[in-house]
Amino acid sequence: MDLYLPIANLSVNALVIVLLGGGVGLLSGMLGVGGGFLTTPLLIVYGIPPTVAAASAASQVTGASVSGVFAHWRRGGVDTKMGGVLVAGGIAGSIAGAQIFRLLQAIGQIDLVIGVVYVVMLGWIGWMMASESIRAIAVARGHLKPRPRKRRHHPLVAALPLRTRFYKSGLYISPLAPLLLGFGVGILTILLGVGGGFVLVPACVYLLGMATQTVVGTSLFQTLFVTAVATMVHATTTKAVDIVLAALLLLGSVAGAQVGARFASRIKPEYLRLGLAIVVLLIGARVLLGLVWRPEAIFTVELA
């Protein structure tokens, strides 16, 4: 079933896009991430212009995070104070990100930067998660003794001034730390069209030392608002948000996310984390290959 995308200016097979959204949604529901880091590269491989892909994937992540935020909210798993600080940083970051995006586009290196950032981020996070989850599996099977878990924030975070209490997260730290973290994730959201959950969750745990029961809910809270802002930024600056493409992706991904969430409750979390780590590393390897392999098209055309 062919459908014409009015902003991307090409016709796609609607069923393929819905299934793509569904597959990403399934993974995101299972693993608790937005899935933007999968959608954008997959859309580019399908032939959608990179800017349109990044801009439209952001709105898909918004949709995928809504039901998650509600679910965590009912359970009291959202720290709104922490979330608010992260969102404030995220909004500033996405506005700064838009400037960086434009600058890189002008000098023609946006695709390179997107690729390199993907490889570095995915490789690093994938590696961290893989080693952590393998250790957890070994502990669960009794091969290894559990390491005493010390929930503490990074010394650099402790050194920042203006400390305040975040009751739900069980923290007494400076709001500057989550503000900066939110800022960085905001830049990533604009550049890569990702929600940033795959960066934010480990950062909240390992850098801030947040209580684990509020990490995912608060991260989703931040993702919801920052991707919404990112969609607005794209709509007003690059004008590359394709609402038809977004609707197709949403249709698949919100359904897939619900199925995935049910699936997830039957699997042990450390195996899920290992699964996510493998997916993340594979995507990173694929992007790396795209950077070093001789590209199919040496020449590229853009409107000037």
């Binding site: 062919d2 459908l3 014409y4 009015p6 902003i7 200016n9 090409l10 016709s11 709105s59 898909q60 918004t62 949709g63 995928a64 995070s65 809504v66 039901s67 509600f70 679910a71 023609g108 290196q109 695709d111 390179l112 390199v116 919404a228 969609t231 607005m232 794209h234 709509a235 007003t236 004008k239 948000v241 609402i243 038809v244 977004a246 609707a247 949403l250 249709l251 919100v254 359904a255 996310a257 619900q258 969430a261 049910r262 950077l291 070093v292 392999w293 001789r294 590209p295 098209a297 040496i298 020449f299 590229t300 055309v301 853009e302 409107l303 000037a304």
Partner: protein, 253 residues
């Protein structure tokens, strides 16, 4: 499909002239892009009006070449180069007016029909496009970029040559089919028809074709451009609604 009435209309014209005249037409003066648009097939047809109503006996038959061009664009072409193991954009060249779409249909390969000079004048053939680079570059760099651009657009079906796509019936009627892929930009397309004999262009005629978005597609494209804030808010509202409804449904099941 030319009616006798039309012939009568052109009869006074024919009397004074020794040169043949082309009467071209297009199956569609307007191509509407709607939700199901996957490209269009244009039928370009017409008649060659010779003085006397028929091809002069004893002469070899004239050939027809049809060129369909999309609106010109100002583009920037970049060339990737391997730097420290990674492919990065290195050199670039700007073109002021490159056609967004170019298809040439002829009854025989264009290189056997017209000499190089006429090909360059009338832009007949993919190697004779007048791309007019805006930035200065040496001729071999220009040539490399031009070949790269043409190859890239050939691959996506935006530029192509179709030798043998023109059919001439009885020496006076011709028809050609040209397919326009879905990824063309909107705007004014031109269909040029050339009558060629002995390597020279005897007659030429142009018809315009408007390609534009219609209905919902036109509405969306216009909304995204003119009321960006409202459009962005709609996109956000849509995604929140989708996510929320899915969550509600999932809890009921």
């Amino acid at each position: 499909m030319i009616r006798p009435a039309l012939l009568l209309l052109f009869a006074p014209l024919l009397l004074g002239q020794a040169k043949p005249v082309l009467v071209p037409d297009v199956s569609q003066r307007e191509v509407q892009i709607a939700y199901s648009f996957t490209g269009a097939e244009l039928l370009l047809f017409g008649a060659i009006l010779y003085p006397g109503g028929r091809p002069p006996p004893g002469e070899e038959p004239a050939e027809i070449v049809v060129v369909v061009k999309g609106p010109t664009q100002s583009i920037l072409v970049r060339e990737k180069e391997k730097v420290a193991g990674i492919w990065v954009n290195a050199e670039r060249l700007r073109y002021r007016s490159a056609p967004s779409f170019y298809a040439i249909a002829s009854s025989r390969p264009i290189r056997t029909l017209v000499d190089e000079r006429s090909r360059a004048i009338y832009e007949l053939g993919l190697d004779s496009l007048q791309l007019s680079p805006a930035s200065a570059a040496t001729s071999d760099v220009e040539e490399r970029f031009e070949r790269g651009l043409v190859e890239l657009r050939e691959r996506s079906g935006l530029y192509y040559e179709a030798p043998g796509a023109v059919e001439v019936t009885g020496g006076v009627l011709y028809r050609a089919r040209v397919t326009v892929p879905a990824r063309v930009p909107v705007g004014r397309f031109t269909a040029e028809t050339f009558l060629i004999r002995h390597g020279r262009v005897l007659a030429a005629a142009v018809r315009d074709i408007d390609v534009r978005k219609s209905g919902f597609e036109r509405f969306v494209a216009r909304a995204a451009d003119r009321s960006a804030v409202l459009y962005g808010l709609t996109a956000v509202a849509l995604s929140v609604l989708f996510g929320w409804v899915a969550g509600v449904i999932a809890r009921r099941i």
